[in-house]
Symmetry: C2
Subunit: 506 residues, 2 copies
Amino acid sequence: MADYDRRTILAGSAAMAGLATATTAPAIAAGRDDKAVRDAIAKNHDAAVQRLKDWIALPSIAAEGRNMPEGAAHMEGLLREAGFQTVKQVPTSGYPVVFGTLDAGAKKTMGIYFMYDVKQYDPAEWTSPPLEGKIVDRAGLGKVMMGRGAVNQKGPQATFLAALHAMKAAGRKLPVNLVLVAEGEEEIASPHFPEAVAQPDVLAALRKCVGVIIPTGWQSPSDGGVAINLGAKGALELELVVSGEKWGKGPKGDIHSSQKARVDSPAWRLVAALQTLVTPDGNMPAIDGYMDKVRPLTPRQLALIAENARASSEEETKRLLGVSQWIDGMTWEESLVRLAAVPTVNIEGLVSGYTGPGGKTILPGRAVAKLDLRLVPDMTKEDSLAKLRAHLDRRGFNDVEIVVGGGYGPTETDENSALIRAQRATYTRFDVPTTLYPRLAGSWPGVVFTGAPVSLPAGQFGLGHGSGAHAPDEYFLIESSNPKVAGMDEAALGFVDFLYQIAAIG
Amino acid sequence: MADYDRRTILAGSAAMAGLATATTAPAIAAGRDDKAVRDAIAKNHDAAVQRLKDWIALPSIAAEGRNMPEGAAHMEGLLREAGFQTVKQVPTSGYPVVFGTLDAGAKKTMGIYFMYDVKQYDPAEWTSPPLEGKIVDRAGLGKVMMGRGAVNQKGPQATFLAALHAMKAAGRKLPVNLVLVAEGEEEIASPHFPEAVAQPDVLAALRKCVGVIIPTGWQSPSDGGVAINLGAKGALELELVVSGEKWGKGPKGDIHSSQKARVDSPAWRLVAALQTLVTPDGNMPAIDGYMDKVRPLTPRQLALIAENARASSEEETKRLLGVSQWIDGMTWEESLVRLAAVPTVNIEGLVSGYTGPGGKTILPGRAVAKLDLRLVPDMTKEDSLAKLRAHLDRRGFNDVEIVVGGGYGPTETDENSALIRAQRATYTRFDVPTTLYPRLAGSWPGVVFTGAPVSLPAGQFGLGHGSGAHAPDEYFLIESSNPKVAGMDEAALGFVDFLYQIAAIG
């Protein structure tokens, strides 16, 4: 899933150049300034690029059951080559999680989250074959590698591995130990990842960590800026299904529409159930008790949002979204507060009966609404689902099925945690402008780490740039011609530096 | 369109064998008993079958703009060969209508309705190529011709033409003059057919007719029975469309679903608009004023329905429909009354956002409900549309677009009209059990003839059998091995006989 609204976030951060810079950067000679490591990265460049290219050529897609054992095995190999001493597959009731540890004899341990799966793709929509990993020129950026998974997440992950290879080649011990978990079901909303994390050995290893990062490459092309997200909403994807079969009324299959005069309609029943879930304007959840656990934003969170509002462009965001006004004619700042503060009940899709061009006179036997619910602290996936079920049952919609696709609760990380302070230190050392954003409206499974039983700070980190996640022509920047944005080598150095910051910051 | 629910109707009539037989049959030596005509039909058999086969090989599909000029030209040729003296194309703002007259010097004139278009098809779903018109054996029936248009309506129409060829070959003058109109847009709900009928020469010709028939072949395979329908509901197919574009709120295209927190949703707006159109159970229209023009069923209509209820099988109908109970637990007779009496607002289809397997986290920019509305006398298409628009506007849904696909009002024909009496006379002479059904819940554009300015009795007529209209493996019975059902030759004789009955009945 990892469905951050990347484009919009970047549009925001680009406009916020220089807004908030870190103030917590101790000077460390190692990392960014270590010539031996820089040279090793440069020397290993071609090997690192080839490693990414080879990885892109092997797409693992959980939704299609495609190359899953191959993807897990490949992931194991990549970790062993990078210096992980123990690497194994942790079985789950879905696809296995790959678990690796690297003991550097250091005092601190850092957690790393990888995914070895990628999103589905349609080669017909691409200008370059999605498995070829072709290097192409991109105006204003430089040479990029184009392929499925290039930015989500093989590119940033391969860059992190390149950092480890360079440290080894330069004869440097890692400043921190590593614990890495790589799942194969991220794109289907991580349904079995918590199982693997709950395994005693995995859990024990993770609990030694100071925090967990997912490697990213989200620098803004306009100013090189990065938004540091202190949390994200949770997400719950599900289908509401009404069928003649389950209902016991209406037809079991599609029948001639003239029968509507005497036969109940699953589609009308779906409409009746749906309209109870939100206020009449569709803008606030109306599920009984759904708002009970909503924790209000803190004054600090509101202040961060106000800063973001002042420094970012409403017009640009509206243009990118194709939206001419916010709900209820809200101001820009109000819209940002709402984006962070309120849970949602959204219709992703409606499917019933005939969906082609024109009409077809049928009374459909089945109707489906695809919903996604965004959750804020202290809501949970389980509690929200239970409330939805109770809400429907209370209104007599016991037959309306809830088919859960996946999801997880919201995640939060303290801005004063070592993880966030180390991030800001490295970004500052690389002259990367940063902003703090209190809560992404999009979602990622960070709660697996920030929630019980792991309970660690977790977030994204990385220099570099890529785009097109889940879309055609996905790419990752290899050689930058843009002085504000890191290429793959500089991004690798960024990861090295970050590990030193983690080691240094108490 | 012509979306009678054929299977269900036949299931009913099969169960009603012998219920109502005609009592109005004067003995006429001609027609059924004319040996010269019978011999001519037999002699022409191969030519008639080849004519149908050639016609099936030329599919005209208005929705796809396929073979429309070719189809109209072919239709002209068929009419000329069958003895029509004047044949021409009548232009409309859509595809042309073919108009032919055959002056036999008779006192009376009969109107005939043809269509030269067929429904779309997917060859992959057929066991025999849909344009090949292959003769295949069908258990319990005999040799059938399989192909798109075989029963809807090329088979029955070719059979009617075979009747004319045989009369000519036997040296018989037709007992009535003929006026024939053939449209090419029946399958897209006849949007321009009324234009052609309103042309002065076409209108003048039709007004001389005693009535209009559409040739059919709907004998039940189990008892050879035919239901004589005295009317049909009107139908109105339309889409309700909510889009960010028109609304000025929400996104213009699909955007990331996390934006729901601050962006309006066209899908939720569609749900809100939809649920105002029907009662909460989805079973009665709630459009303001929609029921005002509903004319109650007469005692005679109710009596006919009661007869039908007694003679037909509720269990069999439920089994065929895959329905275990009627609305509100109604009885069988109540369900049949409702089928004839009440107008409907049905959801044919719902389409918004992501409609594939699983989910996709988007906020769709557009949402569409495909509706079909069934109308009873004295409702009209125009008035019903106006009321729907006013209903939505009154509730502030001015932005919700109504995109009309097609439609027409309800149709009625008096059971005492010469047209119906002639039908019953012929059916009786061929030992075909008949039932009278007051009003089809399905629809056909009969109102073009029964309504102003033509104002004639109109209905279906024909012996023979076929099935699979709009479906794969559509067929028409050529040589019957079932003693209760007419093959193509006997059905041709049925048309000859019917023309004599029309001439005789005052």
